[in-house]
C-alpha cells in the first residue's frame, strides 16, 4: 500500500522540483526531458494499467496546478500516457524491461503521445498540421525523454528480477 500509492507521490515532488529548476539548464533548443513521465511509466509497469491511468491523472493535476500550465492539459496527456504504459505492464516481463532498453522504448512511445496530446489540447491552432505537431512537438521531446530514461535502466538493480 505504502510502496504502491504513497512512495510515488512522495517521489513526485522532488522530481517536479528537478524538472522545474535543474532540467531547464539541460534544454536543447527549448526541448526538455520529462522526468515525471519517466516516473509514471516506471510505476505503471510495476502496478498495471488502472494504476497508471489514475496515477497519470494525479501527476498531471499536480503538475498543472503547481507549474501554472493550463489546468487539465497535463492531466489529459499524463492520463493517456499512463493508460498506454499500462499495456506493457507484466510481472513476467519486468526483467526484460529493465535488463534491456525496452523500458526506454516504452518511455519513447508514451512521451511522444504525451507531448502530442499536451500540445493538441493546450495550444493547437486550426491551421497547424497534425503531422508537423507530431514531429516537432512529439518526436523531439519524446526522444530526449527516452534518452534520459536510459539512466533508469542503467542504475536499476538487475538482481531484483533474477
Amino acid at each position: 500500500m505504502l510502496q504502491k500509492y504513497v512512495y510515488p507521490l512522495l517521489i513526485f515532488f522532488p522530481v517536479l522540483l528537478l524538472q522545474t529548476t535543474l532540467v531547464p539548464f539541460a534544454s536543447i533548443s527549448g526541448v526538455v526531458p520529462d522526468l515525471i513521465l519517466i516516473l509514471l511509466v516506471y510505476y505503471t509497469l510495476f502496478y498495471g494499467q488502472i494504476y497508471g491511468t489514475v496515477m497519470g491523472f494525479i501527476f498531471g493535476f499536480l503538475f498543472d496546478i503547481i507549474t501554472g500550465s493550463l489546468l487539465g492539459s497535463a492531466m489529459l496527456s499524463k492520463t493517456i500516457s499512463g493508460f498506454i504504459a499500462g499495456y506493457f505492464s507484466s510481472e513476467s516481463k519486468m526483467g526484460i524491461y529493465f535488463k534491456s532498453y525496452a523500458f526506454s522504448l516504452i518511455v519513447l512511445l508514451c512521451a511522444v503521445i504525451d507531448s502530442v496530446v499536451y500540445t493538441f489540447f493546450s495550444s493547437i491552432e486550426l491551421n497547424t498540421s497534425i503531422v508537423q505537431v507530431f514531429f516537432s512537438q512529439g518526436i523531439l521531446p519524446g526522444l530526449y525523454t527516452a534518452v534520459v530514461s536510459v539512466l533508469v535502466v542503467f542504475f536499476h538493480p538487475k538482481r531484483s528480477f533474477d
Binding site: F13, L16, L17, Q19, T20, T21, L22, P24, F25, S27, G30, V31, V32, Q49, I50, T53, V54, F57, G60, F63, I65, I66, T67, G68, S69, L70, L71, G72, S73, M75, L76, T79, I80, F83, G86, S115, Y118, T119, F121, S122, S123, E125, T128, V133, S136, Q137, L140, P141
Partner: protein, 277 residues
C-alpha cells in the same frame, strides 16, 4: 441488468476509468479562468515556489562568479552607452521643452529571480519570487537586460507566474524598429513569428523588433529580438517573419517586473489579446 453492468465493468473497467478521467480533465480545461481555480492555483504554486526558490538560489550561487564577470563587462559597455545617451538626453529635453511634449518614460521596476521553469514546446511559463505583496499584478511586463521575457499571468502573495514569449497563448503586437511596420507576433511551437505580414511590407533579416505602442498588453518599446528569416515567400500574399528573441529563456535567472498595467479603457477593448484568450 445489474449483472450486465457488473460484467461490463469487469470487462472494460480500464476503459471506463480512462474515459471518466479524460472527461474530468476536459471539463477542467474549460474552468481555467474560474476565480476559484485561480485561487487554488495561487496557493499551490506559491507553496511549491517557496521550496523551489531555495534550490534555485543554490544553483544561482554556483554561477555567481561567471555572472559577475559578465556583469562587469556589461557595466563597462553600459557606461559608454550612458555617456552617449546622456548627451542625447540633454538635447532631447531641450527639444521637448521647445515642442511642449510631456515626458512619460518613467517606469518603476521590481527585481525578482526565477525560482522554477516549466518549459515545454507550447506553453513555457516561469515562476518568479515577487508577488502581490511586492505590488505585482497580472498583465505587467517582465524583462531582463536583453529584452522582454513575458507578462505576469497570475500572482500569489510572494510569487507570480510569468507567461513567456514562448507560450502559444501570448500574442503581442510588435513593430520593426527600422521600417516602423507593425504586426502580431506569436509562438508557433518552434519559432516566434510575426504572422500575416503583407509581402509588400519592408521587413528584412537583421531588423530589430520591439513591442509596438499599439500593443494592448504593453505599449513600451521593449526589445523583443531580431528578424531571422522570412518564410512562406513562395505562396500566398503574406509573409511569416521568424524572430530570434534576444532572451535565452532556458538560461535566464534574474528579471525585472515593470510595474505598469495598461489603462482600464485599453484592457476592456474587445481585441485585447491578454483578456480574450
Amino acid at each position: 441488468m445489474i449483472r450486465l453492468f457488473q460484467k461490463l465493468w469487469e470487462d472494460f473497467k480500464e476503459y471506463f476509468i480512462l474515459v471518466i478521467l479524460l472527461v474530468i480533465s476536459l471539463v477542467l480545461i474549460s474552468f481555467n479562468q474560474n476565480p476559484g481555480v485561480r485561487k487554488v492555483r495561487a496557493v499551490a504554486f506559491g507553496t511549491f515556489a517557496a521550496i523551489s526558490s531555495i534550490v534555485s538560489d543554490l544553483i544561482n550561487t554556483a554561477g555567481l562568479k561567471n555572472e559577475n564577470e559578465e556583469l562587469r563587462m556589461t557595466n563597462a559597455e553600459l557606461m559608454l552607452q550612458v555617456n552617449r545617451l546622456r548627451e542625447y538626453g540633454i538635447l532631447n529635453e531641450e527639444l521637448k521643452r521647445l515642442l511642449e511634449i510631456k515626458d512619460t518614460a518613467n517606469f518603476p521596476l521590481a527585481p525578482a529571480s526565477i525560482v522554477s521553469k516549466a518549459l515545454n514546446r507550447s506553453q513555457s511559463v516561469v515562476i518568479i519570487n515577487a508577488g502581490s505583496e511586492q505590488g505585482i499584478r497580472p498583465g505587467m511586463p517582465v524583462i531582463n537586460d536583453k529584452g522582454i521575457i513575458g507578462i505576469i499571468n497570475s500572482v500569489s502573495g510572494d510569487y507570480s507566474i510569468v507567461r513567456t514569449l514562448k507560450n502559444m497563448d501570448l500574442k503581442l503586437t510588435v513593430k520593426d524598429e527600422r521600417s516602423r511596420v507593425d504586426g502580431v507576433m506569436k509562438w508557433n511551437g518552434t519559432d516566434l513569428v510575426i504572422v500575416n505580414v503583407p509581402k509588400t511590407y519592408d521587413i528584412e533579416p537583421g531588423d530589430r523588433i520591439v513591442v509596438s505602442e499599439l500593443s494592448s498588453i504593453m505599449s513600451l518599446p521593449l526589445p523583443v529580438g531580431v528578424v531571422k528569416e522570412l518564410s512562406k515567400i513562395e505562396t500566398g500574399i503574406f509573409n511569416e517573419v521568424k524572430v530570434q528573441p534576444y532572451v535565452d529563456f532556458s538560461r535566464v535567472e534574474n528579471v525585472f517586473v515593470i510595474k505598469v498595467v495598461q489603462s482600464r479603457r485599453k484592457n476592456d477593448l474587445e481585441l485585447n489579446f491578454f483578456n480574450t484568450r
